[in-house]
Symmetry: C2
Subunit: 153 residues, 2 copies
């Protein structure tokens, strides 16, 4: 499985918003500070999520972004689809276009099963649950593993 950085950023922001559990707007500046992500880049990512209907945004003072619906109704999968597209779990196995039922690639069947399991997992993981798990969205890596510090989760 491989998600783009944009996607990871979007997920982290989504989880953080869910954990705030507030109905008012949170500025992107605030989010980018807490997550230690470039404000500019995060802005772009959140714009995608807004266009996809996952977030609601508001300009001007007291503006910002917030979840467009309850955190129980937004899944990990929703975010992935909004940012990285549906190809990841629609395309065959190892993202081998041209593969299909007609002429399945060698791993088609096995992969189909796994794909379903993964989809189920990602659909089941709502932002609420993820926020509940209380994972330090804010930079656990720093404390644990100095080597792997590509930022994130």
């Amino acid at each position: 499985m491989y998600l783009s950085k944009s996607c990871i950023h979007g997920l982290r922001a989504g989880i953080l918003l869910a954990s705030k559990n507030s109905n008012s707007f949170v500025t992107i500046k605030q989010l980018s500070n807490e997550l230690d992500i470039s404000f500019y880049f995060l802005t772009k990512v959140l714009q995608q999520m807004t266009k996809a209907g996952l977030l609601e945004s508001y300009k001007g003072p007291n503006g910002g972004v917030k979840l467009a619906r309850e955190s129980t109704l937004i899944s990990f999968m929703d975010v992935v689809e909004a940012i990285d597209g549906k190809a990841l779990l629609e395309d065959c196995a190892l993202s081998l276009p041209g593969c299909g039922i007609l002429k399945p690639c060698p791993m088609h069947d096995q992969w189909s099963v796994m794909k379903q399991e993964i989809s189920a997992m990602l659909n089941d993981a709502t932002l609420e649950k993820l926020a509940e798990m209380n994972y330090a969205v804010k930079n656990p890596g720093a404390e644990i593993d100095q080597l792997h510090k590509k930022s994130f989760f």
Copy 2:
């Protein structure tokens, strides 16, 4: 799951070599023609596989490349590791560095299980088996789906 194009090219070449089931060298030119992959690019990819010990190469007339060991002893996973590195199945879940047993990310446990299943699948898929499945390594996509023609499998 997401593999680089280099990796897909390498896999296709490996499967094709396995299907030829010959002990003599096959020129990269030949492989690139059959697979419809740029000769130059394929050369680079196969060089990586040679360095990783998956292929054996030989220069000069009657030279080329061949599998360095029996096709039963080279797995899909071997090729992926040689080209895309081990990160794919070593890193956590959704490639979130910083995640570990100490401070697992929200999907850590679930993903660990899936990761093992996927690893098992990829380890079990030897080039021999893949070649046996007789999948047209040579461009099935063209016949089936004109839209998806990014080359491949």
